[in-house]
Amino acid sequence: MELILDIALLSLLLVTAVYIAWTRDLFAAVILAGIYGLLSASFFMSMGAVDVAFTEAAVGAGISPLLMLSTLAICGRAQRANPQRALLALLTVGVVGALLITATLEMPAFGSPDAPAHLHVAPRYIADSMREIGIPNVVTSVLASYRAFDTLGEVVVIFTAGLGVLSLLGLRGDVREEPIHSPMAEPSHLVLRVVGKVLIPPILLFALYVQFHGEYGPGGGFQAGVIFAVGFILYSLVFGLEAVEKIVNRALVQALAAVGVLIYGTVGLLGIVSGRNYLDYSGLAGDSVAGQHLGIIAIELGVGITVASVMMIVFFVFSAQLARGRAVPHAS
């Protein structure tokens, strides 16, 4: 059963990918890319990677197609044929692919429990993380404690991307931007507004649940941040950007993005203050397990804040472009 599911998912993935490469309709390509994300999330699920699946669903099937669609709305959905580089591409792809295939021949079999990967470092996480960290979700333990520094890097990457997008699109000229009207913010979309109002609170609530439940089940700061942002994005889609800006000030969101990283970084520094190494939470509370627990909650909070803020920044900036692009079709 597992095998059939596996083969089916992979085949679907392949078909989707090939179709995306083949089609000239960018809209179809983006939608299919979303489906590709969803399919890979299902695949991750079937591999037992629940956290990854959760994240991939939010990113690959949510945020990423959303951003691509806004881009498409400005840039147009038709793609021109341009075959001149195909040969070079085929050659590169052929060589790289052949190299990869040869490499696989001497790899440990798929799923084999005595592959080197499962014998060296990972066993300690499974065997000792309960004693050392005290939470059941091993992925969270590794993510937030054993390899917490990678995760700090990850948050900084997100922060960097947000800042990059901001510097590219968000800071054009110093003139006050004109208020932007969301196309949906018309009274006729009454149904939407009602549904929106009903849906948004549970979404935010769910985000909080994901944020703090990450230690026990799948979830954590990143996923929670994305969901939280989605709540606001939905709100802006229904009520218009300026309605959101009334609730959350843009400067505040930008500051919050920085604050999230700072929280994470400072918690790490507390480790040094408590006489241990950077990002060592053991000294934060009475006993080391409690300390770890506290530390993880704190840094996950940092992650959530930064991710949510950056997602909101990126989305707002893109939608502002969209609105402006509609007003001036060919601004060049």
């Binding site: 490469a21 990677a49 951003l67 691509m68 341009n82 085929l90 429990p113 992925v139």
Partner: protein, 117 residues
């Protein structure tokens, strides 16, 4: 035997190559970014496949089982996914600016616009 042991990796490689092909061959910038996405996602699939242990369940400790998937690749890929979306967002923002500056998102037009065909 070989097939069942490795087919997973082979499909992953095909996916990667499809993505890479799109990045190199296609002149539309958005399509390039989609290709980049597929390329990266396939690498994620590869990592997660590496982490698979036959019969193992999700690495959330419980009394019911003692066999778990390897959590380390999961952690790495969580990070990698985030890196991926960060790159995508930045790339798309760049595309929007390029569109404003050049009036097109086709590589040919851009090169022609700068006079370097």
């Amino acid at each position: 035997m070989l097939l069942s042991a490795l087919y997973n990796y082979w499909v992953v490689i095909l996916l990667m190559m499809t993505g890479l092909y799109m990045v190199i061959a296609q002149g539309n910038l958005i399509k390039k970014v989609i290709g980049l996405n597929i390329f990266q996602t396939s690498v994620f699939i590869f990592y997660i496949s590496v982490g698979k242990v036959a019969g193992g369940s999700a690495p959330i400790l419980s009394q019911l089982t003692t066999v778990y998937s390897n959590p380390l690749p999961h952690v790495l890929i969580l990070t990698a996914i985030v890196v991926g979306i960060a790159t995508t967002a930045l790339a798309l923002a760049l595309i929007l600016r390029i569109r404003q500056a050049y009036g097109s998102v086709e590589e040919q037009d851009i090169l022609a616009g700068d006079g370097q065909c």
